[in-house]
Amino acid sequence: MPRAVTTQKKILNSAISWALAIIIFFPIFWIVVLSFKTEGDAIRTPIEVLTSTWTFDSYAVVQERSDYFKHFSNSVIIAIGSTLLGIIIAVPAAWSMAFVPSKRTRGILMWMLSTKMLPAVGVLYPIYLIFIELGILDSRTGLVVILMLINLPIIIWMLYTYFKEIPAEILEAARMDGANLRSEILYILTPMAIPGIASTLLLNIILAWNEAFWTLNLTAAKAAPLTSFIASYSSPEGLFFAKLSAASVMAITPILIMGWFSQKQLVRGLTFGAVK
């Protein structure tokens, strides 16, 4: 509902907005600054920090000392793996519910959503036990499966709402134009569904990348993704601001960029279509 306003008002609004934005964004900005400092400089007063020399040392140290890339690749594999697995299971399900709805479709959708509300801590021990039994504790396989399961309801819902938006008349037009089921799926439905599938993919990679209950509780050194790798920085005492900052910056940058692209899908994905 943007409306024309006076320049004066625009200046005021802009000033307040920018002030808020700078305050909110400041912690992120600050760790980027600290990550380019020496440990000694990183703990000095803000003005001294800004005026001290800049260095890439912390990034080098983080990578050398802590196998950063192992954890990074764990994160990549777990986030992408769980999302792809979820999409493979969700596409047919969402597809059939959107295009061949039955009396039970609504009930199934709501039930799937309800599984998302299950508090993780309520089933922590059983999952822990099952993982030990199956020998997948501290394995990427185990995390791929569990993150797929917790995000599956969101994936199905997002895809369902996207598929639902494909108008029935377009499918009818295709049939009038002589398309059989195969060409209908190949030439009409799939190309129209791809943007929706892509946004779903994006948002769920973000959610899986940042998941920090199961990744903390079900991994140790071997399969730990970046969430648990960063958490390991909570114990050591002393001067480590620069290294922690460098590690953090590396952990959040890829997802921050993806996140900026997925702003709109975020609303749809996290409110299950309840806010448009």
């Binding site: 108008p167 008349e169 377009i170 009818e172 037009a173 295709a174 049939r175 009038m176 134009d177 002589g178 398309a179 059989n180 060409s183 030439y187 009409i188 190309p191 129209m192």
Partner: protein, 337 residues
């Protein structure tokens, strides 16, 4: 030659009867319009012919062949949808080409047909655009283009103009009419707008509640409506339908008289009433008279130079040769006959 024939076709959605068993013949090259209020089953009837819905009972013949069980693609019909139903991810060229691709035509033939259609519809400059970049009227033409390249047996139009604004609608109406003249193909057109029906049709089918009320040429329907429903539905402004005392006097349950068949004077006449709203259209003026003896106001056409004032009392006399009489079932009867 009868091209499309419906024999005792009916349609139920679950328990709800949408089309009662009906018969209908459509001749080769005819422009047939299905018209009726919303929910009368006109779109469903079109979709039954298209094959997008299965008939509950009855038979649909196209060119003498029973197509009742055939898939839409095999009926050799083309359809233009209300929402245009263009494929959003394809360019205009690809949209128009799609049915030809499905029919397995070779690339050269496809290009030739697409370009011919584009030229005929003034779309040549837009062939590489996507539907999202086109205006409503252009989208409409793409939808028509997609239909004509197939050279179908008949064209089906499902309220194709209802998403356009008023000015564009008149223009597209003329274009469709011209297309029909040029191609000489059979067209079936669904609309709720009786003006569209009157201007386009060779034959109008008036539907109400899943029943065909009357079939005929536009003028036939206008001059000889079979019942009060058709009388009230066809024509704008509406025919005045009067029941009660005045109708009884003329030996009918209801009498109907069109606004142009009432002559208006300032001093004497059969009926009199007080002037309410007057609509001045330039060529004509329509006066709404509130008569004591009728429950509804009477619409009268007057010369545009007649000056009347709100609240003035005027007298009107019906032209008895154009008076329609209906019995208590709403059916028209003629004493002369």
């Amino acid at each position: 030659m009868k091209q499309i024939e419906l024999n005792q076709v009916s349609k139920y959605f679950g328990e709800i009867e949408v089309i009662r068993p009906l018969d209908l013949q459509i001749e080769n090259g005819e422009f047939v319009v299905f018209v009726g209020p919303s929910g009368c089953g006109k779109s469903t009837l079109l979709r039954l012919i298209a094959g997008l819905e299965d008939v509950t009972s009855g038979q649909i013949l196209i060119n003498g062949k029973d197509t009742t069980k055939l898939a839409p693609a095999d009926r050799e019909l083309a359809m233009v949808f209300q929402s245009y139903a263009l494929y959003p991810h394809m360019t205009v060229r690809k949209n128009i080409e799609f049915p030809l691709r499905m029919a397995g035509l070779d690339k050269k033939e496809r290009n030739k047909r697409v370009e011919d259609a584009a030229k005929a519809l003034n779309l040549t400059d837009y062939l590489e655009r996507r539907p999202g970049q086109l205006s409503g009227g252009q989208r409409q033409r793409v939808a028509i283009g997609r239909a004509i390249v197939r050279e179908p047996t008949a064209f089906l139009f499902d309220e194709p103009l209802s998403n356009l604004d008023a000015a564009l609608r008149v223009g597209m109406r003329l274009e469709i009419s011209e297309l029909h003249k040029r191609l000489g193909a059979t067209m079936i057109y669904v609309t709720h707008d009786q003006v569209e029906a009157m201007t386009l049709a060779d034959k109008i089918v008036v539907l109400q509640a899943g029943v065909i009320e009357q079939v005929g040429t536009p003028l036939d329907l206008y001059h000889n409506p079979k019942n009060t429903f058709v009388a009230g539905f066809i024509g704008s402004p509406k025919m005045n339908l009067i029941s009660g005392n005045e109708a009884d006097k003329m030996g009918a349950h209801t009498i109907g008289i069109r606004p142009e068949h009432l002559s208006i004077t300032k001093n004497t006449g059969l009926w009199h009433g007080v002037v309410g709203v007057t609509e001045q259209l330039g060529s004509d003026t329509f006066v709404h008279l509130n008569c004591e003896s009728f429950s509804e106001s009477l619409t009268v056409r007057a010369d545009s130079d007649l000056s009347v004032a709100y609240g003035e009392t005027l007298y009107v006399t019906p032209d008895l040769t154009h008076l329609h009489k209906f019995d208590k079932n709403g059916l028209r009867f003629d004493e002369k006959a």
